[in-house]
């Protein structure tokens, strides 16, 4: 594929603006840009073909099976996109007076109410722009909470070794030290290890439930007790809420703070890497620390609060990825009371079904009932045939499917983390199972073929080492 710069022809352009209708103005020479501005010079037709080509080399949820573990690649309903595109939302300036944005404010309040009910929380902020941003927000709340009580020694955040990388990274950003605790044989938090880890310096525990092995932390009540008794708070990484929404609420199992990934659980599209939305909910006793501005309601009128005395401040400009929140809101309204748990159950059923269809060939890392996803280990296969998890992933590419997440969670060797999601049909799972099984056979009979895969894709395996060693990070015009 050509780069857009390679499609450029000096002198071409799209004619977008009318000539200026007022007198020109010139900056002082010393305020002017000296450097040439090398942007593409192309007509609209050229741009259109360029992005059509780029799109054709992009695999989306609509292209086929996309069971990327931990990412909940569910179908993104079109009505949500249409709603987010309404001029009454898309063309609203964030600093309009409150009486001219009552619809936006009401939407935020409504989303807050619904998501509080779903999570069992009392308040929610939509400022965080993604899950990791939500984690960070939550951890700053924890920090502020302890500080507000004059409790300055709580500098540690406990994080299970199955946790997503964002958890410890967020802890660092919030000035905490991460204490990693290893999981038990069953893939769950080891209560003894936890007990050993907590103490006077414990600020809190971050937990994903179901965890990244797809297992429900069934000792959650005990875990909460241990942490709370030690004086710490419980933080819920909501990236995996999908299989339990409407079934069990983090707030009811002892969590004090949660973040949600609206772009996972609530069907907003992932945009090739974003934008997402990572709202943070908390129990009432933490509300005064939430970031500002907050939407308040009085006599049916909505408005933004001013600064709260104890607020942690702001996590970004304005109020979060508003249009993403709208899409999630439309989704929740659509599913409603019965639809939410129905989607959860479908996710769990699909995952268990697929796991059972594969477990005789691929080894399940932690067997038993899984929730929305399950983790296979290709380690035995690799020992036997030399074919790795990565090889299997690349083999899937040749079959028109997106591979599962590979090599995560880190505690499983040669991990293949499969999350079919609720919006996948039995038919497509059956087709996927067939391919997974064929690839297993292939690994046994012709491992080299899989080392060579993919062969049908637009490009083949990349030289990632050179990419990192001698990075070329921008187009070279010369």
């Amino acid at each position: 594929m050509k780069l857009i710069f390679e499609r450029s022809t000096p002198g071409l352009s799209c004619e977008i603006l009318p000539p200026c209708d007022v007198e020109a103005y010139e900056l002082k020479a010393e305020q002017q840009r000296g450097q040439e501005l090398r942007l593409p010079e192309v007509t609209e037709g050229e741009i259109s073909r360029h992005y059509t080509e780029l799109e054709s080399q992009t695999f989306g949820v609509n292209s086929g099976y996309y069971p990327l573990g931990s990412c909940t690649m569910k179908y993104n309903p079109k009505i949500n996109e249409e709603i987010a595109g309404l001029p009454g939302f898309a063309d609203i300036h964030p600093l309009q007076p409150a009486h001219t944005v009552q619809g936006c404010l009401e939407a935020l309040r409504l989303a807050e109410k619904l998501l509080c009910e779903i999570t069992g929380m009392d308040y929610m902020t939509f400022q965080p722009a993604a899950g990791a941003h939500g984690e960070f927000t939550g951890l700053v709340l924890i920090k502020k909470y302890h500080e507000s009580r004059g409790d300055k020694k709580r500098t540690k955040i406990i994080v299970p070794d199955t946790a997503h990388g964002t958890n410890p990274a967020s802890a660092t950003m919030a000035g905490f030290t991460t204490v990693s605790i290893s999981s038990g044989q069953d893939g769950l938090v080891d209560l003894e290890a936890l007990k050993a880890a907590v103490g006077e310096d414990t600020a809190g525990l971050m937990l994903t439930n179901p965890n990244t092995l797809g297992l429900f932390e069934k000792n959650i009540v005990e875990i909460a007790e241990i942490v709370h008794q030690a004086g710490g708070l419980l933080y819920y990484d909501g990236a995996n809420l999908n299989p339990v929404m409407g079934i069990v609420r983090p707030g009811d199992t002892g969590f004090d703070i949660v973040h949600l990934n609206l772009h996972k659980t609530f069907s907003t599209p992932h945009g090739g890497g974003g934008p997402g939305s990572g709202p943070v909910g908390c129990k009432a006793f933490l509300a005064k620390f939430l970031p500002v501005p907050r939407v308040e309601e009085k006599d049916g009128e909505f408005y933004f609060s001013g600064d709260y005395e104890n607020t942690i401040g702001s996590m970004k400009a304005f109020y979060g990825n508003f249009l993403v929140v709208l899409k999630a809101l439309a989704y929740i309204l659509t599913l409603g009371r019965e639809g939410i748990p129905e989607a959860a159950k479908s996710a769990v059923l699909n995952a268990n079904y697929m796991m059972k269809k594969l477990e005789d060939l691929y080894q399940v890392a932690y067997p038993g009932r899984c929730m929305h996803e399950f983790v296979l280990t290709a380690e035995p296969l690799k020992k036997k045939t030399g074919v790795s998890a990565l090889d299997i992933a690349k083999g899937l590419l040749d079959n028109g499917m997106h591979p599962p997440t590979v090599y995560f969670p880190l505690i499983v060797h040669e991990a293949l983390m499969v999350e079919p999601t609720d919006t996948e049909s039995k038919q497509s799972i059956d087709e996927a199972v067939k391919v997974y099984r064929e690839l297993y056979e292939k690994a046994c009979t012709d491992p080299e073929a899989l080392h060579q895969a993919p062969v049908k894709t637009a490009v083949r395996r990349l030289d990632e080492v050179t990419a990192a060693r001698n990075p070329i990070l921008r187009y070279n015009f010369d």
Binding site: Q32, N62, A132
Partner: protein, 443 residues
């Protein structure tokens, strides 16, 4: 209730049978009964598509869409070409995720590589990342890039956008960093203060160009001071201004960041927007977030891939340069498409029209009694005037005419108005504004 589940009850039963389960509830045997939700969620029943549309349209109807907007203050209405909207809504760009599998994601990867290149071109920097959440978090992340054990004090100009400043404060608070706000004097950064207070613990000085009041600051002078004190410099720059204004690099910045919303992204009540970050070569490996690099496949074909991942949370965990994972990729693609559509001439034209219209407006507004310019400094497309009448009443009056007036300032300049003019505002609209302001004085 709208259902997106593609298995019928009959099929689900088959699947349950295959699993040897009597019912759906058995799927959740692992969850202790006592924590399970009893009685279901207390939210309304599901709705059909038509109902949801009606409800959401009713909400949208409660917002006022202004025909004419003279307000900026961090969110700018520019013209968004049709091709940009068409490209940004392409289904696979919208529904893909982070390009972990490069062989089937060259489209997204290349779009980011192109975006990185354009951001480098705009800012004059060597390397750019794939985006962060917005302009405010870009500022915060840039500061983190500069801080190390020896130098951990942060200087930020008071002329930074208040939301950005508040965000930077929160990030500094979290990390336990000292933050010094360099005061503003006559609408610009107090250079003398900066000079006096920078010291061997100072890691970084950050300022915005044009600043919150629209003024084009003497960034070069500030950055020189910072450099001399051994601190890094960060410029938060308006990307439209960058098309004609001195680049961050030319001003001596080490890092350039900014809010990319003006590059083809709708106002959207504040988000999703686009934080961009670029830096000089030496700082590349301190950049947060995704970076796309060029490489080859095993057949020698050019290809793109996420690279330098050793900086990132999924590899480095607590030692990562940032926690960012999902970013604003689709907004980055949108901005790249916008910049391609406008091209060098077109982007400069946007900037020049902003400049010309703002100066035309300033001339006429400030000639009205009571509407004097507050600052005597060069500006780009925003400027501050006094207001001889009650600001809220004035805004209400403009609103009646379908006009969103300038932003009423708070704090030190309470009672003043921050006006913004872009290529979207016609001379006719501006003249009408001036006429209304005039009427208002006479009343």
């Amino acid at each position: 209730m709208g259902s997106y589940i593609p298995n019928s009850k009959a099929e689900q039963q088959k699947m349950l049978d295959f699993l040897g389960l009597a019912s759906f509830d058995d799927l959740y045997n692992e969850i202790p009964d006592k924590v399970k939700l009893k009685g279901g969620l207390n939210i309304p029943a599901g709705k059909s598509e038509l109902e949801v549309r009606r409800q959401m349209e009713a909400l949208a109807g409660k917002n006022k869409v202004f025909r004419t907007i003279f307000r900026g203050a961090g969110a700018y209405r520019h013209y968004i070409p049709a091709i940009v909207k068409a490209v940004a809504s392409k289904e696979r760009f919208v529904t893909a995720y982070t390009p972990y599998q490069p062989e089937i994601s060259q489209g997204v990867l290349q779009s980011i590589f192109e975006f990185q290149t354009m951001i480098c071109e705009l800012t004059g920097m060597d390397t750019a990342n794939a985006s962060v959440y917005d302009g405010a978090t870009a500022c915060a992340e840039a500061i983190t890039m500069c801080v190390d054990r020896k130098r951990d004090e942060v200087f930020v100009s008071a002329t930074l956008h208040p939301d950005y400043l508040r965000t930077v404060k929160t990030y500094c608070y979290a990390a336990g960093r000292k933050l010094v706000v360099v005061p503003e004097k006559d609408g610009v950064t107090d250079l003398a203060f900066l000079k006096e207070n920078l010291n061997e613990k100072s890691a970084v000085f950050l300022m915005q160009q044009p600043n919150f009041y629209g003024i084009i600051e003497d960034a070069e002078a500030c950055f020189k001071v910072a450099r001399e004190a051994g601190a890094k410099s960060v410029m938060c720059i308006n990307p439209i201004f960058a098309a004609i204004g001195k680049t961050p690099r030319e001003c001596g910045a080490d890092i350039a960041v900014g809010e990319g919303q003006p590059l083809g992204i709708s106002l959207s009540f504040g988000g999703p927007y686009l934080g961009f970050m670029a830096c000089v070569q030496e700082l590349t490996r301190r950049l947060p977030g995704r970076i796309v690099g060029q490489t080859k496949d095993i057949e020698g074909k050019r290809a793109f891939v996420l690279t330098l991942q050793a900086r990132e949370q999924h590899i480095r965990r607590e030692k990562a340069s940032s926690n960012i994972c999902s970013n604003q990729a689709l907004c980055a693609l949108t901005a790249a498409c916008y910049m391609s559509t406008m091209g060098p001439t077109g982007l400069k034209e946007v900037a020049n029209q902003c400049l010309a219209k703002a100066h035309y407006a300033a001339k006429h507004i400030s000639s009205l009694p009571g509407y004097e310019l507050v600052f005597d400094a060069e500006f780009f497309h925003e400027f501050v005037t006094r207001c001889p009448v009650d600001v809220n009443k004035l805004m209400a009056k403009l609103e009646e005419e379908g006009i969103l007036g300038g932003y009423p300032l708070e704090g030190p300049y309470e009672g003043c108005i921050l006006w913004c003019f872009t290529e979207m505002n016609t001379k006719e609209e501006i003249d009408r504004l001036v006429a209304i302001l005039k009427e208002g004085i006479q009343e």
